[in-house]
Every structure is written in structure tokens, then in C-alpha cells.
Symmetry: none
Subunit: 199 residues, 2 copies
């Protein structure tokens, strides 16, 4: 006997279609538009579905009672490589975790900044030009960490190292020289992750 799941069913395709719509327009549509999007012809049924998505945490309401994305709206499925059984159909298998990329990358939102990477001086550390560096903003760092420092009023991403009791910035690319700052080394923050877009 199957145990009572308690939760009413909700069509994952509905959520996907709404997510696609949102990612295109950056707005949640009205019930009548949603009806068209989902192939439903009764607003009353849309209302019911919305309620379920709300209870599941995918949708929410503004203080002004307008529909908005909920906490779990931006979750993505994480395909587990080991448990894959031949079938390329992702809809069926249950081997998915759901996570949001932002939550995974950013631990302390208030102290986190994003910096666009310029140049290829850190290529050997797998940091490419155009990457978005996730930086935890703090005024100091440990030797060996990848830091974002401010040199000549510009951001620089480098390894932090020590050389004869002085801090130096070492690139991860033999074509670039080690930077030995004259005065105090000004650190903007420490690398906590990165995001890259390739398509």
C-alpha cells in the first residue's frame, strides 16, 4: 500500500512552461495568459494549479497580492551521472536533486560581489576571460588563495603568495610576471567561485 503523499499532483510541465515564459519576459503572466500557456480553458483551474505551486514554494505573492516567483522557482535539476540508466529522457527518472545555482555559489549574499574577468592571466587556474568571478568581499586573505586585489585602481585576479616576507600576486600563466606591490597590498576579496557562459 502506497503511503499517502499528502501533496496533490502538479504537472511539472506547467512549471517548466511558466519558467520559460518568465525567463523570456521576466514577469509572471495573468491567469488568462497562463491558461493559454498551459492549454487550459478555465481560469478557475489555473487558480487551483497556482495554489498548488504556491504551497510547493514555486510561486508566491507580493504584499500587493500580485503573483510572483517563489523561493523554489529558480531551482534546476541536477542530473546525477552515476545513476543514469541509458534513457536520455530526463522527465521520467527521479534521480534529480533540485538546487539553485545562486544558492550554490553565493553563501553570504551581503558580502558577495561579482567581477568580470579580464585577460587570461589566470588561465592555468581555469579562469577564463569573460568569466564571472564570485568574490567574498573582505580586506585580507590567506596565502595560496585566489584574491581580487586593487592595483592601480583596477581589479586584478591573482594567487596571493608570500616572498621574503612580502605579499606578492602570482598569475597562473607563465607569460605574465609576478606582481610585487610597492606599498600596502589592497585586497578587495577572495574568490569563492565562478560562472562561465559558453553559448
Amino acid at each position: 500500500m502506497a503511503l499517502n503523499t499528502q501533496k496533490p499532483q502538479l504537472d511539472p510541465q506547467y512549471l517548466e512552461k511558466l519558467q520559460d515564459y518568465y525567463s523570456e519576459h521576466k514577469v509572471i503572466p495573468s491567469y488568462s495568459v497562463l491558461a493559454g500557456l498551459w492549454g487550459i480553458s478555465a481560469k478557475s483551474w489555473v487558480s487551483e494549479c497556482v495554489k498548488r505551486f504556491e504551497e510547493a514554494g514555486f510561486l508566491d505573492w507580493t504584499p500587493d497580492k500580485q503573483l510572483k516567483p517563489g523561493a523554489r522557482f529558480f531551482e534546476r535539476k541536477l542530473a546525477d551521472s552515476t545513476v543514469q540508466a541509458g534513457l536520455p529522457n530526463p522527465a521520467i527518472s527521479d534521480g534529480y536533486d533540485l538546487i539553485t545555482i545562486d544558492d550554490w555559489l553565493v553563501k553570504i549574499p551581503s558580502r558577495t560581489a561579482l567581477v568580470r574577468v579580464k585577460g587570461d592571466s589566470m588561465i592555468d587556474a581555469g579562469i577564463h576571460e569573460g568569466d564571472l568571478l564570485v568574490v567574498e568581499v573582505q580586506p585580507n586573505a590567506n596565502v595560496g588563495e585566489i584574491v581580487v586585489a586593487i592595483v592601480d585602481n583596477e581589479f586584478t585576479v591573482k594567487y596571493l603568495q608570500k616572498e621574503r616576507n612580502e605579499f606578492v600576486l602570482r598569475p597562473a600563466n607563465k607569460a605574465y610576471p609576478v606582481i610585487r606591490p610597492k606599498g600596502r597590498l589592497e585586497i578587495f576579496g577572495v574568490m569563492a567561485g565562478l560562472a562561465r557562459r559558453t553559448r
Copy 2:
């Protein structure tokens, strides 16, 4: 004599308040809420201001005539990283503030999956073990693209290449061999980006 600027004035504070509202709720509010937000007591005037923001490219309309963020909505005021003295406020990515990292990486949510990278066979492409690969799920790909293929019931990330009219999977690491699949090559999707956590 000043030349006629043509463009009517529009209060930058209005835009900022709307951006703040949006970044909190991820939705554009109605005219009456906007009126409250802007300290205006006539919807007619809100309508006029919206028109101006629309003409300036900050707001736009969905095909269903709903108000939505325009192309320039996510622009940042130039708090440029290069001109910054001392402590910059989180000077982000070139003039643009992202809604979320997720939004930057994922274009079609319903066809996007995340795959955890195993091994270092793509290290020369800047793909490290443990990285989260953003994959657009599709059954075929172009030569030269980085694909996620299913080989022996496991996900493999490799370059897709052609060799004597046969598809092969080439790693980006000289220590690994080229994979020449026996039968049909089963492609799970194409790499669209990646996320890495280093801390």
C-alpha cells in the same frame, strides 16, 4: 541656445525605486502600486511616466500587453571599477547588474540541466572536477562543441569531433585517449556554461 533635447524629463529616482521593488519581488507592480511606490496619487501620471520609461528602453510590454522590464532595465549607473578610489561598492559586471547568476547562465530553463563534472579529462578547457556544468539538453550537437554524452551508462564531457566520417569524443587533456564509440553516439546535451565553487 540649447538645442531641444526632444526627450521629456524622467525622474531617475522613479527608476531606482522600481528596480529595488523588482529585485525584491521579481515582478513589475501595477500602476496603483507604482503610484504608492513613487509617491504619486494619480494613475494617469504613472501612465505618463511609464510611457517615458518605455520610450527610453527601461520598460517594455509582453505580447499580452503586460508591463515588463525593458532591455535597459538591468543597467547599472556607471560606478565603474576603473575609476573607483578606495573601496568601491560592489562594482559588478560591465554596467549591468544581473538579476541572478542563474538567469545569466540559463536561457531555456525547461531544457537545461546541471551535471556534476567528474575527473580532469577536460582540464585544458578550464573544466575542473566538481564543477557544475550547465547543459542544454538536446539529442544532437555540432562538431567542435563541448557535449555531454552518455557512454557506458555514464555522463562524459568531451569535445565532439569528426574523424573519418565518424563522431569521436576528444578530451582536453593529453593524458586521456580519444573515445571512439562503437555504435551510435548518444548525446545528452551541449555545454552552455559552468559554475564552480572554490571555497
